[in-house]
């Protein structure tokens, strides 16, 4: 490609960002990917299975990681924030702050550092379901395949056990943050989403009532690389649940929380009902809903799961969740089909929490127009800057990939136009 030697900056190394980066780079463009966490792959890396095919996302991720490795036109920075963007289309000056990983490229992921590390941290990758060491590998197929040290809990110089244990001199506890300046022609904003903080929904008991978890925690429980090795267990005692309630619209479609439909939660709960029944065909999955929203061709997935034995759908929103004896959970809803309140006790309750754009908490350093809900309004973006995926609206992985591809084309066009 000879259109321009200008680079494309992709902010965010999740599925949308990686797709945009790879599609652009594979036409010969120079691409820089900036990711704030220590690994690439974003939320997809935390999923157990994709809907509707129910295949693991690991193979797709692996292919993408391989494409990055094999492509000299892509460079990426993890643990990095974009702190400043100036200039205009074709000539943006970007400042990056690369936070120290405290582990250098010599790391072979032998796990010696973690073995000797005396302190633990809440494992955010598993949504707090377990702890890992301050020296840790984010997950088993993290890319880059490299440990990281959580300095917020690390004992530092006073301990240094990992430094001594590492045979490869990979640990540098004095690693300093770095500032990187880039000049790029176009920017793709792919900041992704965070799970809505379910503790804010005070009537649903999350964080108060034992064995009330979120849908993303359910993904981690069911994932083979999760905290339980893929066994769905109650957090309180490790028992395998015989009955699970799925509470739809936990925060979504609610003016007091997320005033929009998060698009994926109905499919996610239907999918997770299959996790439960695949583990234990005798178990009972009950989905409480306002409307089952399975857009487009997903309708057939809904029919398939709905018609399975031991799947029950109750039309009525759960609006009260309390602890029942034996660490069980009581949910209350009005079954609007019968017009009576139902009080049912379950072993485990999964809140179908919604998507919040990451820009709600982390604004990008640009004069961007946001919608009332915190999404980027694509019509208000400056020339040369493109938003993808869940920056604009809640969506699924398939649509993120399509959107990423579209953004790659738009970024390339904008470079050619200069």
């Amino acid at each position: 490609m000879n259109a321009s030697n200008k680079k494309i900056l992709v902010i965010g190394g999740g599925m949308s960002g990686l797709t945009a980066a790879l599609e652009a780079a594979e036409t010969g463009a120079q691409v820089v990917v900036v990711e704030k966490s220590p690994y690439l792959g974003g939320r997809v890396a935390q999923l157990n299975k994709y809907f509707p095919k129910l295949c693991p996302p690991t193979c797709g991720l692996e292919i993408n990681f391989k494409r990055i490795k094999n492509n000299p036109d892509i460079t990426f920075y993890t643990m990095t924030d974009v702190t400043q963007i100036t200039g205009q289309a074709g000539d943006f000056n970007v400042t990056l702050n690369v936070r120290p990983r405290y582990v250098n490229d010599k790391c072979v992921a032998c796990n010696k550092c973690a073995e000797v590390c005396p302190v633990e941290r809440v494992n955010d990758f598993n949504y707090g379901l377990d702890n890992n060491k301050a020296a840790y590998l984010p997950f088993d197929m993290a890319f880059p395949y490299q440990y990281v040290i959580d300095m917020s809990v690390c004992l530092g110089e006073a301990c240094k056990k990992c430094v001594k244990a590492c045979e490869y001199n990979a640990i540098e506890l004095d690693m300093a943050p770095q500032t990187v300046n880039l000049n790029v022609g176009a920017i793709v904003v792919a900041g992704g989403w965070n799970l809505y903080d379910a503790t804010k929904i005070d009537n649903l008991g999350f964080g108060q009532v034992a064995n009330v978890i979120t849908n993303m925690q359910m993904e981690r429980l069911a994932a083979p690389n999760g905290p339980t090795g893929g066994k769905i267990q109650r957090p309180s005692d490790g028992a395998e649940p015989k009955s699970v309630a799925f509470v739809q619209c936990a925060g979504s479609r609610d003016e007091n929380h997320l005033p929009y439909c998060s698009y994926i939660c109905c499919m996610a709960s239907l999918k997770q009902a299959t996790y439960l029944l695949d583990q234990d065909p005798e178990a009972q999955a009950t989905i409480f809903y306002i409307d089952i929203r399975t857009p487009g061709r997903y309708e057939q997935f809904y029919w398939k799961v709905r018609d399975r034995e031991n799947v029950e759908l109750v039309r009525g929103k759960v609006a009260k969740i309390t602890q029942a004896p034996g660490d069980k959970v009581e949910v209350v809803a009005e079954d609007t089909a019968t017009g009576n309140k139902v009080r049912r006790v379950f072993d485990l309750v999964v809140l179908a929490a919604g998507m919040e754009p990451s820009t709600k908490s982390d604004k990008i350093p640009l004069a961007v127009k946001y919608t009332d809900e915190g999404f980027i309004d694509p019509t208000g973006l400056p020339a040369g800057i493109f938003a993808v995926g869940s920056m604009k609206s809640p969506l699924d992985v398939a649509k993120s990939v399509q959107d990423g591809t579209g953004a790659a084309i738009k970024a390339l066009q904008s470079l050619v136009g200069r």
Partner: protein, 380 residues
């Protein structure tokens, strides 16, 4: 088909509910969060989700005879948690207003009471009645100077005549309305299947009144919990003042028939009747002040209410404030202020009594009737 249901949709009624503070009713998407977060709604056919559907469909016939709208105490928990801003609490308030309108006769008068533009006309009635009575008794522009004595302005007998007439009218309208309401309640199967309990009207009424006097249901509110206390203070204030009224009527009439020695009002501060009067006034004023404050604090949230609610609040404020000021101005011997203040007091009390069947005051009667009916049906 034998079990065919004919839906009679009354679009004008939907509009009426929207005018009465239920403008958000169409936003409801029937998720039933409201029925669940409501602490006083039963498990069997709970409210207010079903009422929201009735409202959207304009099922006037069902709404006006649905006792559940009176079981609702306007706590506002439903409105607080409603994900759509459909404000079920305010919609049920609108339903109660519409029910009062439906059962009060003449309906036109009820419509006037619910609209601010008719307030001057409604106020003109007591003003003219009292002026007319003063003209008849010859006190108009002819109040003797000297120690202030309100019976110099309107003699006690005339007061009795005016207020017996006003109260008699209200009772007549109430009896008429409740008779029709009771007939409707019993004629139709309510939204929930009635379990017949063997409670009589009397025992059910006693149970309901017992619950009222401690505000049992009201205290289960979360969002507007404090309102139970202020409402109770107000009710106790009313009860105390009713006792005072009966007491002074006894003094007046019993002495007329020679049963007791004559006792001249105004009563001295050393008399127990005055203590009860003062206590009642304080409870009433403090209760209504708290209600005012609590509603103002909710100006943008659940429980502010509309003109229908505020009309009653202001009438009660007027009764309390003019009553207290009449007393103070009389003690201060400021005749030029005291007599006009007493005039205003009479106007506001007349307003409260005479229009009671059409204002929110009527909730006292319809709520009691609905809850007695529900009790008799075994619905808790």
């Amino acid at each position: 088909m034998a079990d065919e249901t004919v839906i009679k949709s009354d679009l004008a009624f939907v509009k009426r509910l929207q005018e009465c503070g239920g403008e958000s009713l169409k936003k409801c998407y029937q998720c039933a969060t409201c029925s669940v977060v409501c602490n006083i709604s039963p498990d069997d056919k709970p409210y207010p989700r079903k009422e929201m559907l009735m409202a959207q469909w304009g099922l006037k016939d069902q709404i006006v005879k649905d006792p559940d709208i009176w079981a609702c105490h306007y706590c506002g928990d439903c409105t607080t948690y409603c994900p759509r801003g459909a404000n079920p609490g305010e919609v049920l308030g609108a339903m109660r207003q519409a029910t009062i309108e439906h059962y009060s006769f003449p309906t036109q008068l009820a419509r006037m009471v619910s609209q601010p533009k008719f307030l001057p006309v409604l106020l003109a009635l007591p003003v003219l009645v009292i002026l007319f009575v003063m003209k008849l008794t010859g006190t108009l522009g002819n109040i003797p100077a000297g120690t202030i004595k309100y019976s110099n302005m309107v003699p006690l007998l005339a007061i009795d005549a005016i207020f017996m007439a006003a109260a008699g009218f209200a009772v007549f309208v109430f009896v008429n309305g409740v008779r029709r309401y009771w007939k409707d309640l019993n004629a139709d199967v309510s939204p929930w299947k009635a379990k017949l309990s063997d409670k009589s009207v009397i025992s059910a009424t006693i149970e309901v009144l017992k619950e009222f006097i401690v505000h049992k249901r009201f205290k289960e509110c979360v969002t507007n919990y404090a309102r139970a206390t202020s409402h109770l203070l107000l009710v106790l204030g009313f009860i105390a003042l009713a006792i005072v009224t009966a007491w002074s009527a006894y003094y007046e009439w019993a002495s007329k028939f020679g049963l007791i020695p004559h006792k001249e009002s105004p009563f001295s501060i050393t008399e127990p009747i005055k203590w009860v009067a003062l206590l009642g006034t304080i409870l009433l004023l403090y209760g209504i002040y708290l209600i005012y404050q609590q509603r103002q604090a909710k100006a943008n949230g659940a429980g502010f209410g509309g003109y229908f609610d505020w009309l009653l609040i202001w009438v009660i404020v007027a009764v309390g404030v003019t009553g207290a000021l009449s007393w103070i101005l009389r003690l201060a011997n400021l005749a030029s202020l005291a007599y006009p203040m007493y005039f205003l007091h009479l106007v506001s009390v007349f307003f409260l009594f005479f229009y009671a069947p059409y204002t929110k005051m009527a909730h006292l009667v319809y709520r009691t009737t609905a809850l007695v009916f529900a009790k008799m049906q075994g619905r808790e």
